[in-house]
Each structure stands twice: as C-alpha cells, then as structure tokens.
Symmetry: C2
Subunit: 219 residues, 2 copies
C-alpha cells in the first residue's frame, strides 16, 4: 500500500479541518500551476504585508519577480521568512445552517526563504516561464526583456519543500438534524472565465487575435 | 476643488507604481464589498502565514471569523499586527514586450490590529453580515448559529482606517519603440462566473432553486 504523503513540517501542517490537508506533490503542483496569481506574505518592521503577484513553478521551485525597487522583492531577496499562498475558488457551498456555509476551493501554502536569481540567463528563463505560465504561447511572440529591463527586475526562487494544500470539494455537510429544514442547499460553482479579447488601440486594424488568446482557458 | 484623498500612513502608501494607488473610501469599500474572499497575513513565531478567508465590511470595520480553535483567529483576537488583502482579477494585459505584461486588477490592503467581538448579539450580526455579503438573501433563509456554534466561532473586527487600494485598468502600456512590433497586444478580460447550481443530494427532488441563487452575479 503506498504511503499517504505526510506534512513536511509541523508548521506546514493544516490545522483547522485537518482532513482537508493534502500533502502530495501532484496536488500541490497542480494547484500552483492552475492558479493565475498568488499572495505573498512578508514582514517589514514587525508589520506583515500581503501582496498579490504572479508566480511560476519551475520544477521544484516557485519563482516570483518584481521591480528591483520594490519593498517586497528587497525583503524576499534578503532571505526574509515568507509565505506564498495560491487559492482557486471553485464554488459557494450553501448549507441549511449558516454555520456550515463554506466555499469549495483549492489552496496551497508555501513557507520558506527565497534565493535571488542573479545570473542573466537564469533570470531570462524565469521571466519567460512567468509569461508562459500565465499565457502559454506568449513567450515565443513577445519581445524578451532587454538588458535594462533585466537589470530593473529582481527574480527570486523558493524551494517547494515546505508546503501544503487544502482542498474542499463536494456538497454541504449539514448536521443530520438540519437535513429536513425547508431550505435549498447545494453548491453554486464559480470559475474564472474569459471575455472577448480587447485589442490595444494602437494595433493596426485587422491584426488577427492569436490562437492562444482566442482559445485561452484555465483548466 | 475637492482634495484628492491622501494615504492614511506611510506604511499604507502604495510604493511601486505609485500612480496606481487609490485612497478614496468609495473605491476601497467597493473593492472590499465585491471581492468574495481575502487573504489574511499574520505572524506566528517569526513566520508569516497567509490564509484565505471571507470578510464582510460592516460600516467602517472589516469583520473576519473562524473557529475559535484556529491559530489565525487566536493571533488576530490577541491583537497581533495583521494585513488583509482582497484582490479582484479583471484581465490579462498582453503587451508587445514581456516586460510590460501585466494584469488588470483591483486590490485593497488593510493594515491593523483586530478587536475580538465577544457580545453574542454583535457576533450574530457579524456572522449574518458574512453570509449575506457572499450571498445576499441567504441569511433570511438559512438556520442562524445556535449557542454552541456561536461559542465555537471567533469573530474579529479591523478598523478600516489604515488601508489603500491599487488599481490597474485599461490597455497595455508599451514603450513607443515597441508599438510597431508585429505582435498582437491587448487585454483578455477575466471574470468570476457562476455555473449551474448543484442541489445537495439530500434535497427532496423538485425543491426550487431560490431566486437569489438563480440570479446570482458578482457585479
């Protein structure tokens, strides 16, 4: 019988509703790969900050980037303890009691300290991964970063060795006594859906929309 | 001429791309009210944690809740410094250069320390606000929290006096030299869309789906 993956550390263990904790690499990687952005937590002068940004998983590392001038990148590049959380909302869970209302979601929490990526080739590859991860196909078409842009950008990588996922799926979990209440219960699914692409006003009229945009979907 | 709202504090000032910083109450409140969930940052044993949860704005306060047994609620109720960030993703911004790729989004960052709400009536009102905020109309129908559930739940409130919004909207901002590159550029709008409601398996067949579910929309 295969072992059930265990939490990598005490502090990376899901505490509340521990049955929702998931520690297998495939689940964790899939959530990181599907979520379009994450929230990064770091501490500056005893105050935690939580900032939305994009991420890309490159093998067993999670790559973030930003302006070299940003406080967040300065903190992360200095190796400060950080937490990166990516969350995908899948639906609203409507129970018969307010207490059991919930959401269906998949989230990953990554704890750790970053290492700055300083070599130009590795930085360029990470930036390409960031673009490609959000819009597959785009990196081959857009102009890559030039030396000045590369210089202005800081890239950091977190090892994915202290992380956990938390997943809720399925119908509401009402108390048995509540099942006969005359209240509709169920799940209202939610997903991130694309609208029609809006061409840039500077684009020559008739410029075709690339296939990777026309057919863009989040799985 | 009306004053432009100013940042409430140095640490709540948007630093990177400061022109995206917005400090007027109406914008901040609208983002908090529309976002379905937030990410809460707090520090435990020098390690920041970022946890997704739901929030409700009640006047000039932001209310969070959770199990009394949770580490997050214990930290928040003890008045630890926290950061609550709510982010709404509006689209992918595809520039001609990878450097100017971006996202259209609206986010709010709230800094502060919470106060626990302990009085039962005030707690019940806050829990009702949380349900009603996510699904307007639901609180009138679902069974309210009973004394045991109320006891097991901790509710905290943050003042909304140290917060800021950051907003990006509109087309890509390419460098002038890049405008003639033969690359499609523009915005791919994204929004959170409902699927068909999934009735709970325990629901008697034919139970009608309430109008507030059938017509559920995020503005």
């Amino acid at each position: 019988m295969p072992d059930i993956p265990r939490p990598p550390s005490d502090r990376a263990t899901v505490r509340r509703l521990a049955k929702r904790g998931v520690y297998d690499q495939a689940t964790i990687y899939a959530i990181l790969d599907q979520s379009l952005y994450c929230h990064v937590g770091f501490v500056d002068q005893n105050q935690p900050f939580v900032i939305p940004t994009i991420h890309a998983r490159v093998g067993g590392q999670l790559v973030l980037h930003g302006s070299r001038a940003s406080r967040m990148l300065a903190c992360l590049a200095a190796g400060a303890p950080a937490c990166i959380t990516a969350t995908i909302l899948d639906g609203l869970v409507l129970a018969r009691s307010t207490f059991h209302h919930s959401m269906n979601y998949r989230s990953v929490v990554v704890l750790g300290r970053a290492t700055e990526i300083t070599a130009d080739a590795e930085k360029s590859a990470a930036l390409e991964a960031l673009v490609e991860r959000v819009v597959p196909g785009r990196a081959a078409e857009a102009r890559p970063a030039n030396p000045q842009e590369l210089q202005a950008t800081a890239v950091v990588a977190f090892p994915l060795d202290e992380c956990s996922a938390k997943v809720r799926a399925g119908p509401p979990a009402d108390d048995a006594d509540d099942l006969t209440l005359p209240v509709w219960a169920g799940v209202l699914p939610l997903s991130l859906v694309c609208g029609e692409p809006l061409p840039d006003p500077h684009l020559p009229p008739g410029t075709p929309v690339p296939r990777y945009i026309r057919e863009y979907r989040r799985v």
